[in-house]
Amino acid sequence: TQLLEQSPQFLSIQEGENLTVYCNSSSVFSSLQWYRQEPGEGPVLLVTVVTGGEVKKLKRLTFQFGDARKDSSLHITAAQPGDTGLYLCAGTGPGGQNFVFGPGTRLSVLP
């Protein structure tokens, strides 16, 4: 069974600070996705990365897929209160099977 770990579990920062959250596994994934979930809502896809070493940017968010496709990071620059939410990584195993979610990082950005 492929498992994903995320760190930190909780993160509380002030508006304007930078932060990085991590998603790690001992398994190789064919692709990895990041979602953000706000209270009372379903997860919303932010990005999909598929190539080892790939870097994608979405405004102030930078996503990186590890060279070995076992880990990923999400960096947020100049965090804003609107970034508050639960950030979930999810990976698809080789052959497109075994899609799993990590436990999430709960981010709180204080004004």
Partner: protein, 111 residues
Amino acid sequence: DTAVSQTPKYLVTQMGNDKSIKCEQNLGHDTMYWYKQDSKKFLKIMFSYNNKELIINETVPNRFSPKSPDKAHLNLHINSLELGDSAVYFCASSQRQGAKDFGPGTRLTVT
């Protein structure tokens, strides 16, 4: 223009009752899912279904059964509800095993 919709949003019921949650997607996706999110916010796959194959997470009690009248709908029926069934249930859809679109969730409370 809702992509994935679920009803009801909230469901409060007593132990032993039978209930159903409905899900519809208008994205033309070929695969639909049901996820359970517990109090710790961990998302766990319950079922995935396309018009060819139903994949059941073996840890899901057989009191839970998915029913799909057509490829745009995947309803979740739960028999003999138990206290531990209280959670938020999310429906999702995707094209093959790609990025998933989630519904807004159904918060089930069993008393």
